[in-house]
């Protein structure tokens, strides 16, 4: 049976569907994708506060990207704010590939440390790095200053 989200949001012929995004995070996913009205030629559909019953949840967000596929860095960033998201690659209306996002052991260069006094925020030639202490909800600890990162979505690079 069709998911109600698929009925409300038109299917795409080719592209990517990012489903099971944490309720309220769809706009942050768009921020990660870096898309705006001036730099994209295909359509994007967004469903927010869409009913779901997966894992006992009531609501989710969903984003459909026509004619776009995501690189590994982008998928890793999405995992930081939507750890339960699934990515489906659509080709000619069919799901050609489907996988769940997953954070690795470490996050490197995707997000900056929220501690302004951390050495990674002081102009040194170093990429911010974090240990993944918990995947869902994501909890990251700075490799350098040892602080737990606050507000992941506000600190995405």
């Amino acid at each position: 049976m069709k998911d109600i989200a698929d009925i409300k949001i038109p299917p795409i012929r080719n592209g990517t569907v990012i489903d099971h995004i944490e309720n309220g995070q769809a706009l942050n996913v768009l921020k990660i994708l870096g898309v705006n009205e001036n730099n994209i030629d295909s359509s994007i559909s967004i469903g927010m506060h869409v009913p779901t019953n997966k894992d006992g949840k009531k609501w989710k967000d969903i984003v459909k990207l026509e004619d776009m596929e995501l690189d590994e860095t982008t998928v890793s960033k999405i995992a930081l704010i939507a750890p339960e998201a699934t990515i489906s690659i659509i080709r000619d209306y069919y799901i050609a590939e489907k996988f769940a996002v997953k954070l690795g052991e470490k996050v490197v260069g995707l997000v900056r440390c929220s501690n302004p006094n951390c050495i990674t925020n002081k102009g040194e030639p170093v990429l911010p790095q974090f240990f993944v202490e918990n995947r869902n909800p994501p909890r990251l600890r700075c490799v350098y200053c040892d602080r737990t990162l606050l507000n992941i979505s506000d600190n995405l690079i």
């Binding site: 006094n117 050495i119 002081k122 040194e124 030639p125 200053c145 040892d146 602080r147």
Partner: protein
């Protein structure tokens, strides 16, 4: 115990067994630290002592520890005297100093500086305090002081009072104490309480600290009273400092309800948190604590540089 050529950057670099190894080795170092015995176990080695923030005890005790073991010291005490003042990155400074010595000791105002230094340095790096972050050698000498006075760390009731928010010493020490099954009590105004992420880590290690702002309510239960200075230099807003400065003062009247063998510790310098009248009581252990910096840092240098005592 394999410490040779290892960095000592944070409490996370140490297991409980490694901590106990350093404490045991520190005990062996005491007569050498006092000059009663002499052994140049690190003859021919050079320590690079980089202090980009003010320090008296840590810097001097590292120097003393090195000289007692026959290790030479080169040092920098002010950022204004280095190429950092000309815009050189810390990473480049460390690479340069790394070429001149066998071990680097770093005190720096920014959190994570020692980890960065360890990343770029071929030789081992010892963190001597990075901003409000870690101060692992102070933690080890604090544990050594407690263990020497009490015989064991297991089950002690340790009460920390003062600036628990910005004080790097208490952040590191609290996490180390959680390994030894201590009962921890945190005494501070709400605005200076221990950061939530540290408290969460303590809880994950099975230590649920008791929090209060009233020292009088808990002093009678303490085996160790660990006092810290409310540090003006760590406050972003001077008005916030004025609100809490002088909140706690330990004097003989305050100690009236303490256990007879309760020990008072302080990483020093003190300003007015501990009245000088306390110095002559059996409670005062802070000068012994300052001395212990030498044998503990001797043990750390020996373990990392492979000296034989």
């Amino acid at each position: 115990m394999d410490f040779y050529d290892k960095d000592l950057v944070s409490i996370r670099d140490l297991t409980k067994d490694q901590i106990e190894y350093i404490l045991d080795l520190s005990k062996k170092m005491v007569p050498y630290a006092r000059g009663e015995k002499v052994k140049r176990a690190l003859d021919g080695k050079i320590l690079g002592n980089l202090f980009f923030e003010p320090s008296t005890r840590t810097k001097l005790s590292f120097e003393s520890a090195a000289y007692r073991l026959g290790c030479d010291v080169i040092d920098v005490s002010e950022m204004s005297m280095t190429s950092i003042a000309k815009g050189e990155t810390l990473a480049d400074t460390i690479r340069m100093v790394d070429a001149y010595c066998d071990v680097i000791v770093l005190r720096h105002p920014f959190e994570g500086a020692a980890r960065l230094a360890a990343d770029v340095s071929e030789n081992p790096v010892i963190n001597a305090g990075d901003g409000a972050g870690s101060h692992p050698t102070q933690m080890l000498l604090d544990l050594f002081t407690m263990k020497e006075a009490k015989g064991s760390l297991e089950g002690l009731n340790v009460t920390m009072v003062g600036d628990l928010k910005y004080g790097r010493t208490v952040h590191t020490l609290a996490q180390a104490l959680a390994n030894f099954g201590v009962k921890l009590t945190l005494v501070a105004p709400e605005s200076l309480q221990m950061p939530h992420d540290i408290v969460d880590r303590l809880k994950r290690n099975g230590c649920v600290p008791k929090k209060t702002s009233v020292l009088e309510d808990v002093i009678g239960d303490a085996d160790v009273l660990y006092v810290t200075r409310i540090q003006k230099e760590r406050f972003p807003d001077p008005a916030e400092y004025q609100k809490v400065a002088g909140t706690y003062r330990i004097d003989n009247a305050m100690l009236r309800n303490a256990k007879d063998d309760m020990m008072v510790m302080h990483p020093l310098p003190r300003v007015n948190e501990i009245a000088t009248e306390v110095d002559s009581t059996p409670h005062a252990k802070y000068f012994q604590q300052a001395f212990n910096g030498v044998p503990v840092r001797m043990a750390i240098l020996c373990a990392i540089l492979g000296g034989d005592i």
